[in-house]
Symmetry: C2
DNA sequence: GAGTGACCAATTTGTTCATCTGGTCATTTT
DNA sequence: AAAATGACCAGATGAACAAATTGGTCACTC
């Protein structure tokens, strides 16, 4: 085995998905980019969807690493959540692949893409959930449903970063951090 | 004038929009339901979009009334916000018209519908914003950007009521009230 | 003059058919 | 023999054209 054909195919597919999206990427195109016969792809992947799935799986792994790197044990729970979420969402924003994915989800609604996007979201929630559980155990935050709390954290973050931007001037990183702390940790109540 | 033709048309249009959505409602259909010549509609409304707009305007008015009715000066700010929001979202859920609207927005993305949905949302935020401003003045809550806070309140509420339901068992009224209080007022922080 | 529906331009919808694409497998290459 | 391949096929897709529908107008009626 002179070259790793599977990796060749994965790279080619990632490249094409990033550039043209899931639907507009043909298996022939992937084969051509990978310098591989079309049939060869099917010796490694059952079908187009599985090939796609494997790339997403990879993405999830990288995102987790990003998040993990951003965590600093000396900082508070809320500070770490903020840092991790910020990095995660920035990661999404910076990677052509995720941008194309989100775009295709909204504009075309390709089922396979829809499924993967929710999968990624579920993974993020699951990841935060773990951190929430630890924080509760450590007594860093109040008792609460970890999954629901993780879910709300993500939602609040997305609202602050993406939704607010749609009709208002974007918030900067510091503002987002402060607002996240205000709304989720300190609360609006004065006491 | 034996009958109020304008009202007749508005009722007919509301009925048809509720049943079939904006796009699938034809002016001929409205005319037929209203027992009116098609041309007559155009003596009251410039075009289909304006007719639609007037019905939405009406909806907003009714929603405001609903909210206003639910407010009790003896209760705390957060309690009132919760009562108003709950009533508002329940109203949305209960009215075929709003359901069809939301459905059409997601499934077809009819531009006129998209515009109206954001208009309704903007109105809700603006309404909450006023209440937030008063609460800040009265010292009932911390100082914060009233519009952003109103925006976040709505987002958090929608997340609790609609988004969470998509993949989990729905929260009941009491749970929503408590969670809303936890996340937005008390905060996750223990101190 | 308020009300109307036949009429028209423009858009939408339905249909057809040539092209394309995911996936297979007999054949070739290593 | 195992791995790789691309010609091949059934079904999906979409471009192009035709037919039907619809928003909006206006000459005419009551």
């Amino acid at each position: 085995m002179a070259v790793n054909r599977k990796k060749l195919i994965l790279d080619a597919a990632a490249k094409s998905f990033s550039q043209f999206g899931y639907k507009a990427t043909t298996m022939e195109q992937v084969a051509k980019i990978a310098n591989v016969g079309k049939g060869t792809i099917y010796t490694f992947f059952t079908n187009k969807e599985e090939l796609f799935g494997e790339i997403v799986q990879n993405l999830i792994f990288e995102m987790k690493q990003e998040a993990e790197e951003s965590i600093d044990v000396n900082l508070s729970f809320y500070e770490n959540v903020h840092r991790a979420l910020y990095r995660l969402l920035k990661y999404r924003l910076e990677h052509q692949f995720t941008i194309k994915l989100l775009q295709e989800e909204k504009e075309i609604g390709t089922p396979a893409v829809l499924e993967m996007v929710s999968k990624v979201e579920a993974e993020i929630v699951s990841y935060i959930k773990e951190k929430v559980e630890i924080a509760i155990e450590k007594g860093e935050i109040r008792k609460c449903d970890p999954e629901l709390t993780a879910f709300m954290m993500l939602k609040i973050y997305i609202a602050l970063i993406f939704d607010w931007e749609k009709r208002h001037k974007p918030l900067n990183k510091k503002e987002i951090a402060e607002l996240f702390q205000l709304y989720l940790f300190k609360g609006l109540s004065k006491f």
